[in-house]
Symmetry: C2
Subunit: 190 residues, 2 copies
């Protein structure tokens, strides 16, 4: 998505060779029209797949996952990180490290929101090492549902997450791939 | 919104006389079409106000806040709860208790996402005691921006949050008001 590359070049900042700050675009501030365009793009790319549900992880994946769910006309489920007091004892749970938060959290999805007959498209904003993604995929596996595919807005392809998921056999679509942040410079693939 | 009342009666469950579980509708599973309808309703109700930005708190307010921002054609900002490793030192911060989580968290908004000339509409999914809402309003005050109004999907009017905000002089619009959950029964106002 060229428009997204342009916005990243204009608004993102490189914090170090591993971390890109995109907080006016993806994980703190959100442009609704651009986000709906991302949702339409994922809907186009996965048009040939059966998708009955979109799943993501709170919080920053929610806007683009919502946009994709709206475009495809299917429900959205967002996994919660750690239990709340009103949490459901009857929930799938996977423990995952968080790359940006530097802590370990539990991903929780209530059992009644994932059915064995679901075909689930996982949408998220950024993939680095893919720990949260793999945790969420284990939850989908536990439920007996099928993974229809994985859509990621921004893949840092110099980190292992996207490659690992492809090696596991999943179809992974990313809107923008960044191959390097070295020397304070954003280098896109192709 | 009658459609929302019907969905609450069909899908929500009363956990105790203070807590309604709406996890298939609002804070875990999301119906995108219904959520866009909520966004259109907020856009209609605040059509006479100048709104330059929507603000909410992660996570469960994000879908309806996104829908409202999309309908009004303005950016969305969601406050983060607690600092991440890539957090911005240059951020507004307010400490608030969480009713459902039973803990205290920090609300964080990067300074560059709120400007003194903004006119901000705060959108959230549920209001109970209103602690997070008041924390977020203090952040908007710190930035010098104006509060254009407050839109809440579900107000538990037997708790003080909505009333307190109205007494502070804010325009508060709620889509559904619940006046009691006693005896395991959901009673709407009017």
């Amino acid at each position: 998505m060229d428009i997204l590359k342009q916005r990243i070049l204009a608004e993102a900042s490189v914090l170090n060779s591993d971390v890109l700050k995109v907080d006016s675009l993806l994980n703190h501030g959100v442009d609704p029209e651009l986000t709906m365009e991302m949702g339409r793009e994922f809907a186009r790319r996965f048009a040939g797949e059966t998708v009955t549900k979109i799943i993501t992880v709170e919080s920053s994946g929610i806007p683009v996952a919502f946009a994709t769910a709206y475009e495809l006309g299917v429900p959205l489920v967002f996994a919660r990180r750690k239990r709340t007091l009103i949490g459901d004892a009857d929930a799938y749970c996977e423990r995952v490290p968080s790359f940006t938060k530097g802590i370990v959290t539990d991903l929780i999805v209530s059992r009644h929101l994932l059915k064995a007959e679901d075909s689930v498209l996982f949408i998220d904003d950024i993939i680095a090492n893919g720990d949260a993604a793999r945790g969420l995929l284990r939850i989908v596996d536990q439920s007996g549902a099928r993974i229809a595919g994985i859509g990621i807005v921004l893949e840092k392809s110099f980190q292992a997450g996207g490659r690992t998921l492809r090696e596991m056999g999943y179809r992974v679509e990313t809107l923008v791939k960044i191959k390097s942040l070295d020397g304070n410079e954003i280098i896109f693939e192709d």
